[in-house]
Amino acid sequence: MNRPVRTIKKARASKVMSGAGLLVRTLADCGVEFIFMEEHPDTEPVRDAALRQRGLKVIHPVSETSCVPMADVCSRYTGRPVVALTAGGGHCLNQVMGMTTAWGDKSPVISIGIARSRGAGASPVFDRERTDPCEVFSSISVYHETVRAWSDMREIICRGVRESLSAKGGTVHIEIPIDIIESTGSLSSDASPGDTECFAQVQAPVRAEEKKIDQAVDLLLRAKRPMIFAGGGAVRAGAAQLVNDLARKAGIPILSSMGAMDVVDPANPMYVGPSSYLAGEAFHYAIEKADVVLAIGACFGGLDGFGLPPLWSGKIKFIQVNIDPTYIAFNPGAEIAIVADARETVNQLMERIEAVSSRLPDWTSWVSSIKRRYHGHVERVACEAKNHKSKNGRLHPAAAVLAVLDRIVASDALVCVDGGNTPLWAGMFASVKGPRRVFFPTGMATLGVGIPMALGLKTAAGNRRVILFTGDGSLLYNIQELELIKRYNLPIIIAVNNDSAWNMIRAGEIMLHRCVGTALPEQDYAAVAESYGIPARRISSLDEIPAALDKAFSSNGPMLFDIATDNNVYPDSLASFIRVEFMGSLMPQPLKKMLNFYQNEIKIGRNVINIMKYLMKTM
């Protein structure tokens, strides 16, 4: 991995500069390259300074709400801190969406609000504009601070960057009053906080104790059904390739958490399916049967079934590797705990495994028993999708997704996913390989960040094409940013799974009872895109997809496909998801409501039966 932070250079002889100048200079010194900035009179001084600062790029989204999601994905892609900068007050508070999402994914986003001076003295009971955004952001950031003097700014920014990259990492919010941005001061070598050592600490990888490595390998050698479980920490540490190598070398099947969607290479012989629930039955089988799990940079969140019963077997012995001691045994207890850098640890494990390679048991039949379940599952879905006949002539979403995936696997395109069921469909086939290639707001599953994410990714990824799979519900949230895609004629392809429903919720409703509030109007989203000047077309048959994609790939600009799909089919991995989200809540409904179910206009179709069968298999 490219190490994120350059060492702070001691500033040479004192130099007079504005607050804005000091800010951008410090950001550049901290290794920041991109600033997603709201276009606003209050941010102008910073923009002007940033344009003069070498190494900084400024991108203006259409709406300030998009700044953080753009920065979020950009930081996840580059592994470096990225800045989102907006005006103060309500503009700043509109960052709660992006900040919560980025915080949920532990992305190193530095959000900066340029605050209007709030004046002193008025009673806060009275003056509600004085509400401090730092307070609002306190629970969704790892560090937050208000700059109160020109001379404090550099230190606070450096601290923010350091915190954002620390063990757990995550979002940071900094308030800077506009008066400080506009005032001047002088930066001398002794005025700058000698941050060199602190940065060095952030960068220094930590090795695991040899004793622990021996114990871990011993435990693995004794395992009948071992498994490697890679989490977001593995990606952040730049250990994606290494964990793949380790699995291959040891012959141990490897699965990943939802937060590390693209970490496992589908070409790896130890690949047994995509992340977590997306692998469907195979995932449930594996976590029920495994006896030893080597977890690398995983904290076992809700989207991974917490690593605990009822989904995971209670008998599993966990070897947990994490850089942050808090995340050791955060959910399931650990048999062996290793606090160290994932990259270093995997290297150490690999050496040790090589040394004992002759004693490695043969786990092939265990590996293939998981694989079989995964392939069986996706083949059944693919087959159903292909033969799907809906009354209204709409396509099966899985068929649509497969047709698009077919065309993009061979390319080096980056993928963003947005929606409810849409990501489940798009993720279950997982033929796109390579770390940092697929992006989804895993922690918060926030709808609507797809377009900003695609833009943020495009900014960071140079020539690579970006494809966005999105639900129709999600598409409109930040539709205003199509304007930006058009303005720079960015080659972003948007595939809309247009099922005229908030379908994940609608599916949940059907399983429970009846549908309320989850229908969406029939809408031609191609027409919406065209009003932005973006070429678009409505797709109503599978045969149209390859040619349409060819056209998109040969053009240098954006394109949107509005694919009309059937909302009466559901991915059955939805059932896994619902089981955990509602654990302890989904008791049988009162009799009266159950009776209603049968009077309902919704038939218990084939799909519901499939889901029932699926649930039986996962219990």
């Binding site: 915080w103 008025a122 509600r128 949230y477 539709i479 009003s531 989904l586 009162p590």
Partner: protein
């Protein structure tokens, strides 16, 4: 005995609190709440395309004076909602915000659940009250308490989280238990609070002896629909008035005492002119009038200050006061009017005071229009707004959004009637105007609504055109685009609007074309329409 889910208890309480519409974007954890709402004939779900828009619609609904509720799903939903609820907080709108949380045994501290965050802490700084409904038996009580606090003086939003196991959990509720949960009692004070006679007399005396009195009026006068009472008092006493932009519609444009909005005066010259006052009459101060009064007092004007406020703690919180009155807006204004008798004729009042300020206002208005946009655009915009003013009846609601559109309207729009215009001029919540207008239309379907907005603002929530069409929240939208700024690849708003099934037309000579629209409008066409005006 009947079985109640936690969700049923929530909705039962909402019904009893008079909530009719719930603005929400669906979420799995709220499904039983959707059902319970659907089961109540008097209640309806309104589903826009963004939780922030849902919150702003609830704000508009609340501005119409109705009990208002927004509901957003755990984590992701509330994250979009929060920024918009901050608008309710600033604007003192008693909006009830509800959200599910993850299971009670998995929250606080969070355990890496999907979508789990300490949402109560996000809302704490921007609500008057927040709580977690850990136990089903506390649901009715906590909702009633939240609503009561939301409505109490210096109103504002409140937020309640409910863990998903409490929402889904069900239990039989006996009749006597139901009686205990929903007693047949009153849960909040609904009358008004009269001010003390002594306080009123003292305040009246200060105002009566003043040579150059000046009234500053804040948003609670607008929220209390107290414009008529205010004007009775001002007309009886001849006190000229500056309003905050939120209270713009509390003073008739044609009043000879109307000095316009605070924004006109917050410049060197304006403050100097106002500082000649010897008695400031601060009525329900808000941020805008608050800043202005401090600017004046900082000049050592030596003026007496009379302040009236609903909340005792607000009196004297900005500047020291000579006389303070606490009480509900309308009785305070009425009692003051009664106590003031007819001292308008009092001989010591400086005759040139009001005319001199009026002259200053003209100057300030010119200067103000100069700073809010390029002269030719502001002029054209003013022309259109004037026309709209002529078209609109006193019952038509006009919402103005954006610095230039609202700024121009505040200086040039002439309207008859009170409390029929909403100004979003100060850029606190960019683009709030459209969802606010939708929420108002939802609350008052019989009234015509006109939205005057500009591209930069409208973009923020333009997706809600779909919501407008879906729920028949018809209105006429006048959208100003900047010809100079508009890059040629910018969105074509007319076809954007049409793609949602709403009529739209691009207008190049507003002078002529808007008259035609008048004709059609009077012919009774009541479909939504957008006019894309490039200036």
């Amino acid at each position: 005995m009947a079985t109640y889910l936690g969700a049923d208890l929530i909705v039962e309480t909402l019904v009893r609190e008079g909530v009719r519409h719930v603005f929400t974007v669906p979420g799995g954890q709220m499904i039983p709440i959707h059902y319970a709402i659907d089961d109540h004939k008097s209640m309806e779900l309104v589903v826009p395309r963004h939780e922030g828009a849902a919150a702003l619609m609830a704000c508009g609904y609340s501005m119409a004076g109705l009990p208002s509720c927004v509901m957003a799903t755990v984590g992701a939903g509330i994250a979009y909602e929060a920024g918009s609820l901050a608008f309710a907080w600033r604007e003192r709108l008693p909006v009830l915000s509800l959200a599910p949380q993850v299971q009670s045994y998995k929250m606080k501290p969070i355990q890496e659940n999907l979508q789990a965050c300490d949402q109560d802490e996000i809302f704490a700084p921007i609500t008057k009250f927040h709580a977690i409904m850990y136990h089903r038996d506390r649901i009715p009580d906590l909702i009633r308490r939240a609503v009561k606090i939301a409505l109490a003086p210096e109103p504002g939003p409140v937020h309640l989280d409910t863990p998903v196991d409490v929402i889904f959990g069900f239990k039989r509720v006996s009749r006597s238990k139901k009686k205990r949960l929903f007693p047949d009692r009153r849960f909040r004070f609904e009358g008004s609070v009269r001010p003390s006679k002594e306080a009123v007399r003292r305040a009246a005396r200060v105002l009566a002896s003043s040579k150059r009195p000046l009234a500053l009026v804040g948003r609670n006068v607008e929220r209390s629909r107290a414009g008529e009472h205010l004007m009775n008092l001002l007309n009886a006493t001849g006190i000229p008035v500056v309003v905050s932009s939120a209270a713009w519609s509390s003073v008739p444009g044609a009043s000879e005492l109307n000095l316009g909005h605070a924004g006109l005066w917050r410049n060197e010259r304006g403050i100097k002119a106002l500082s000649r006052t010897d008695a400031i009459f601060l009525i329900e101060a808000d941020e805008e009038t608050g800043r202005l009064v401090r600017n004046i007092v900082e000049r050592d004007s030596g003026a007496a200050v009379v302040q009236t406020a609903g909340l005792a703690a607000s009196v004297g919180s900005l500047v020291p006061v000579t006389a303070g009155i606490t009480g509900s807006v309308i009785p305070v204004l009425d009692d003051l009017a009664a106590a003031s008798g007819s001292f308008r004729e009092s001989s010591h009042r400086e005759r040139s005071w009001v005319p001199s300020l009026m002259k200053e206002k003209e100057v300030s208005a010119k200067e103000y229009l100069r700073v809010i946009g390029p002269a030719h655009r502001v002029k054209a915009c003013a022309g259109v707004i004037e026309k709209i003013g002529a078209i609109a009846g006193p019952d038509t609601l006009i919402v103005c959004d954006g610095r230039m559109a609202a700024g121009t309207a505040m200086t040039t729009l002439k309207r008859s009637g009170l409390h029929n215009t909403v100004m979003c001029a100060d850029d606190y919540a960019p683009g709030a105007g459209f969802p606010l207008a939708l929420g108002m239309k939802c609350a008052m379907p019989d009234r015509d609504v006109i939205l005057i907005t500009e591209a930069d603002s409208f973009k923020r929530h333009s997706r809600e055109l779909q919501t407008m069409n879906r729920y028949n929240l018809d209105m006429s939208i006048f959208l100003f685009q900047d010809k100079d700024k508009k890059p040629k690849e910018e969105v074509d708003f007319a076809s954007f609007t049409k793609s949602f099934g709403i009529e739209a037309s691009s207008i190049s000579s507003p002078e002529r074309e808007i008259t035609e629209m008048t004709a059609r409008d009077t012919a009774g066409s009541r479909r939504g329409i957008l006019f894309d005006i490039t200036l």
